[in-house]
């Protein structure tokens, strides 16, 4: 790594970090370094100061509390990947974790950092959106909770205030008849998504879809919800025709760009395919449909 020169601070507490944010002008926050280190290395980021939050031990947690699955800012992708709690109850998280980058990066990179980075190609933003999760931030005025749907603004830009630090993301603990899944299409192991689709389905006692959440990766300027598809699903009974239509609606609502891995038309089509598959897995995991015959 050959960055430009910078000063580094290592706060021990959230309060200390926030006061550094207040007192320093040109600064970047370093947690796992999954994106920040390459940006420093390529000198895409040339901050005067780096605030390394890895010493704030209070942020290292992944647990269920008061009806939420809470993930602290220092929980690594690998923590999610290896969590039995996640494995048993949060299908979309369990799907996404091993698909983030490679093992070395999963040991360092954080889920919260991935969300805060707001890269439209990031996986966690879509999962968070599908689950109607929340982002918890700390600033000079204390804690603030931001619904995920209000968090992402532009590529690498969020509604976070200038002196706020994201300390946690959280999603509701599962309802009795809930299932979720994440499907990701990438060129090779470790890559960012060409297209990704997270789905969460909650069913009522009659087996109808009570709530549907769909979050899409790499097909717009931020991770986005496929609201048309969600609306179409709610109140309906699961089935391949329904999911097919939801996939089409999600594709219609997406705005992918062509790049060297695939053109926009192909990616739109993949939004459709991946959304159908994610919905199918989610319904199956909710226990309301039998194993699908084929992809």
């Amino acid at each position: 790594m050959k960055p430009a020169q910078f000063e580094q601070h290592e706060p021990q507490t959230v309060e200390e970090a926030v006061s550094l944010l207040e007192s320093l002008d040109d600064r970047a926050i370093l947690s796992g370094g999954q994106s920040m280190v390459p940006m420093l290395r390529f000198r895409l980021a040339v901050p005067e100061t780096v605030i390394d939050i890895n010493r704030i031990e209070s942020l290292d947690y992944l647990e269920e509390e008061d009806g939420w699955l809470t993930i602290g800012a220092l929980a690594r992708h690998a923590d999610v990947e290896q969590s039995e709690l996640v494995d048993e109850n949060y299908g979309s998280f369990a799907d996404a974790a091993p698909l983030v980058a490679d093992p070395q990066i999963r040991n360092r990179g954080t889920v919260v950092g991935g969300v805060a980075q707001a890269d439209p190609k990031g996986d966690w933003g879509s999962v968070l959106l599908a689950h109607e999760g929340e982002v918890v931030a700390h600033g000079p005025d204390g804690e603030r909770v931001i619904p995920a749907k209000d968090f992402f603004l532009l590529p690498y830009d969020t509604t976070l205030d200038e002196n706020e630090l994201v300390t946690e993301i959280r999603v509701p603990t599962p309802e009795p008849r809930e299932g979720s899944a994440y499907h990701k299409l990438k060129r090779k192991v470790g890559d960012y998504a060409m297209v990704g689709s997270a789905a969460r389905l909650v069913f009522d006692e009659d087996g109808r879809i009570e709530r549907a959440g769909i979050g899409l990766t790499a097909v717009d300027i931020t991770n986005v919800r496929a609201t048309d598809a969600e609306d179409h699903l709610e109140g309906e009974r699961p089935g391949s025709d329904l999911f097919k239509r939801a996939g089409e609606l999600a594709a219609e609502q997406s705005n992918p760009e062509s790049d060297e891995h695939g053109d926009a038309g192909y990616k739109e089509r993949m939004v459709n395919v991946l959304t159908q598959r994610a919905l199918g897995d989610a319904a199956e995991r909710a226990g309301v449909v039998k194993r699908r015959v084929s992809q």
Binding site: A4, E260, G262
Partner: protein, 810 residues
């Protein structure tokens, strides 16, 4: 896409388990001797170029062109020069004012085409071309200095496609000396005979294809540390596959004598050709070391490695096969535009013109005609990359054969078998001037077909039953994926040029071996030790192999083109035999008998014969003299009067001809028709490289080559935009696959020795890169029942092919 990240690495499976241990009795040759270099490599003890840092070392970094084609209006270095820690900032003006020519030598082209300047003159011709050099106290400040150099460009129209560059009258011209941007054109084969073959044949099958442009991605990027001493000259420690070659080229660029340069190449982490080529970085480091009188280090960043090249491949080919209804191949015709890039490097601009010499592949074809144009474009220079023309040629033929089979309604395997060069026909001269030394193609092919279960597979191509090979009726799950099987035959030309090998016996009987090749992953230290230990009947621990220092090693050629074991191996063995002959004479003197009476076994010399002579007496006494005692004698007492002291020999070995490795690769793919994702469910390589000195090392070469071949077929693609901007300038955009993207690679072998050398060996280093691309593409086309898809087989391309085939493309 792989939905699971379970890293199932390329662990190999040896099919010929019966003889898998390669147990050939009491010789090292043929055994699976463990690679002796691996402990140092795997524990991090091995020193690479960048690990080396003489006191006072300063760091070199480059300002590189941001444009594919532009005139340079002004280069303002003043801010950079004033920066703290910056020691020197250089442009072409500084090189021009120095005694050095400052250009990278270009060979093989007619006319007066400019050679690559180490720093750009007044125009840049590719994105990433070095414009200015900054030397600073450390690498951080060097990059600070680079960022502070202000270059004013006047962008010019660019051309990146070689066919466009040569055939579009509106294409920008890179050099006035190269009309239509053509560097060189070459014709192979008999045009009239080929025309007649096509006229006579029942039908013609055609294909247009691209052999995609690739970037060598060695684990270790290129690096150099140059030191200069007014009395001793230059010492350049660098990542070189070819230390003597680099010495010669550096001398040319610097304008000094070869004797003034010592090149040391320590451990090298992969090369694939591009560490044999002469690039600006290393030359500039040497130039700066002299100018500054400080050791100068340059280590390429990964991005620089991507920007500067040399890249590989990048052919556009139109080809046709003339076939009869019964499947007899009568003729083959190809016209190729091969990309050279913005400048030629060495023979890189002319060599691709001869790629067609392998177009016959394994087939007896009456007539072949190949026209190749090498063309300048506004892209990084292209040079040989693992395979170097062979993958390009074999891909054309092996794709054509599959297309022909489909059109004729003949099984592609049957079509191949019908046209194989028969085993009795060797040496066999092809219509494009290659003479195959030996071959027995049918058995290798049969082994591959049997192991892959070809007949059964072929029956169910394009269907969706799962990888267990079971039918759904038998309980298998239909996962919705289409299966296909692909076969590719290949030949590989190996063993060109001469190589040096020096064997020196030390006074205590230890043996030093020096070779002009340079291992950068191939395991020479082990292979050469096995060969020399056998040649001298000594324990392998006594053998010490060295490469990579022009001061210690007789002038050699280097490691590339699958040549080291053939020419380097035979060189060291021949030297060992020369030494042994002298050892025998000294032993005879010690034993006081004629040399013919001396028997050498188990590291000791004894006397044979019972003719009542002195010898018999010696024999009766049980006299013996050890190899070590002879070695000591060679440097001191008891040497016969007619022998000079010392115990070493040097051989410059050259093959009389070319050794042709061959084989058959096969793979089975599963294609997800909804996404275009391709999984290689099985990959099998049957290779014949003659005698195998170390089967494990041979298999390692196959594994690596296959991985690179699959990478070309499935993942890797250099992308430039129309302005000549490299889009795939980092690992996250250029598709080097990871272990988990690759299948388990199964290997098997047949052994058809080369008659051209005593060891019977042929090269194997590039086989996988040659055979894998057509094997994979053939399998995917089989699964989808389509004629052709260009590499790399991206999800999108495959999905489009499926959709078009089904008529539902949206």
């Amino acid at each position: 896409m792989s939905d699971a990240d379970s890293a199932d690495a390329t662990r190999g499976v040896e099919l010929d388990a019966d003889d898998a241990d390669g147990d050939t009795g009491d010789t090292y040759t043929g055994s699976r001797e463990k690679r002796r270099e691996d402990v140092a490599l795997l524990t991090g003890r091995a020193e690479y170029t960048d690990d080396h840092e003489p006191p006072g070392t300063v760091s070199l970094a480059f300002v590189r062109s941001e444009h594919g084609h532009a005139d340079l209006k002004e280069i303002d270095t003043s801010t950079a020069e004033a920066m703290d820690g910056v020691i020197g900032v250089y442009t072409w003006n500084d090189l021009e004012a120095s005694p050095s020519p400052g250009r990278l030598p270009l060979s093989g082209l007619e006319g007066d085409i400019p050679a690559h300047p180490v720093l750009a003159t007044d125009r840049v011709r590719y994105h990433g071309q070095p414009i200015a050099a900054v030397v600073a106290e450390d690498r951080y400040r060097a990059r600070d200095g680079v960022a502070a150099v202000d270059v004013e460009y006047e962008p010019l129209e660019a051309v990146v496609d070689p066919q466009d560059a040569a055939t579009d009258p509106n294409a920008p011209q890179l050099f006035a000396e190269a009309p239509d941007n053509v560097a060189t054109s070459a014709e192979l084969g008999d045009a009239d005979a080929t025309d007649r073959a096509f006229d006579a044949a029942d039908r013609t099958v055609e294909i247009d294809l691209t052999n995609n442009r690739l970037i060598p991605s060695a684990l270790e990027p290129r690096a150099a540390i140059a030191e200069f001493d007014p009395d001793e000259g230059f010492t350049v420690t660098m990542t070189s596959q070819s230390p003597h070659g680099h010495r010669r080229k550096l001398a040319h660029t610097l304008g000094v004598r070869e004797g003034e340069i010592r090149v040391i190449s320590p451990h090298v982490g992969g090369g694939f050709g591009h560490k044999g080529h002469h690039h600006p970085g290393e030359a500039m480091a040497a130039w700066c070391a002299r100018d500054l009188d400080r050791p100068v280090k340059w280590t390429a960043t990964r991005s620089e490695n991507y920007l500067e090249g040399a890249h590989g491949r990048d052919h556009r080919t139109t080809a046709a096969l003339a076939v009869d209804h019964d499947g007899s191949i009568r003729g083959l015709r190809a016209e190729t535009y091969a990309n050279v890039g913005g400048y030629g490097l060495g023979v890189g601009a002319s060599m691709p013109a001869r790629y067609g010499r392998l177009l016959a592949s394994q087939y007896a074809i009456d007539a072949i005609r190949c026209e190749t144009h090498t063309v300048f474009t506004n892209t990084a220079p292209i040079h040989s990359y693992r395979g170097a023309g062979r993958p390009e040629a074999i891909y054309v033929t092996e794709r054509l054969v599959d297309v022909a089979a489909d059109e004729l309604g003949i099984d592609p395997v049957e079509l191949r078998q019908r046209n194989l060069i028969p085993s009795g026909a060797f040496p066999y001269e092809t219509p494009v001037g290659a003479t195959y030394d030996s071959g027995d193609y049918e058995p290798a092919m049969e082994r591959a077909l049997e192991a892959i279960g070809y007949d059964d597979r072929r029956d169910r191509s394009g269907t969706t039953w799962d990888s267990s090979g079971e039918d759904v009726e038998n309980g298998a799950i239909d996962d919705g994926r289409l299966r296909g099987v692909g076969i590719a035959n290949y030949v590989e030309s190996t063993g060109g040029g001469f190589e040096s090998g020096l064997v020196r016996v030390l006074p205590d009987g230890d043996v030093e071996v020096y070779a002009g090749t340079h291992s950068h992953g191939q395991g020479h230290e082990t292979t050469y030790a096995q060969l020399v230990a056998d040649a001298l009947s000594l324990p392998i621990e006594r053998i010490h192999v060295s490469e990579g220092d022009t001061e210690a090693i007789p002038t050699g050629t280097g490691t590339f083109g699958s040549r080291s074991t053939i020419v380097g191996g035979n060189a060291v063995v021949t030297s060992a035999e020369k030494v042994l002959s002298k050892v025998r004479r000294i032993a005879a003197a010690e034993l006081e008998v004629d040399p013919e009476r001396v028997v050498y076994d188990g590291g000791a010399f004894t006397v044979s014969g019972t003719d009542g002579s002195e010898a018999a007496t010696a024999s009766a006494r049980g006299d013996e003299v050890s190899f070590a005692a002879v070695a000591e004698a060679a440097y001191g007492r008891g040497l016969p009067d007619d022998l000079e002291p010392g115990l070493e020999a040097t051989t410059f070995y050259e093959l009389d001809g070319t050794a042709y490795t061959f084989g058959t690769h096969a793979c089975i793919v599963a294609v997800d028709p909804a996404t275009g994702d391709v999984e290689l469910e099985r990959y099998l390589a049957v290779d014949d490289c003659g005698e195998r000195v170390n089967p494990t090392i041979v298999e390692g070469q196959v594994h690596g080559g296959v991985a690179q071949g699959i990478a070309q077929a499935r993942y890797e693609q250099v992308a430039y935009d129309d302005d000549g901007t490299l889009l795939t300038d980092a690992m996250d955009s250029y598709g080097v696959p990871r272990a988990a993207d690759l299948p388990q690679i199964e290997t098997d072998a047949t052994v058809t020795p080369s008659p051209l050398n005593e060891l019977g060996v042929k090269g194997i280093g590039e086989a996988g890169t040659i055979a894998a691309p057509p094997a994979v593409v053939n399998a995917v086309c089989d699964a989808l029942d389509v004629a052709h898809i260009d590499m790399p087989l991206t999800e999108e391309r495959v999905w489009r092919a499926v959709s078009e085939e089904r008529g539902d493309v949206n």
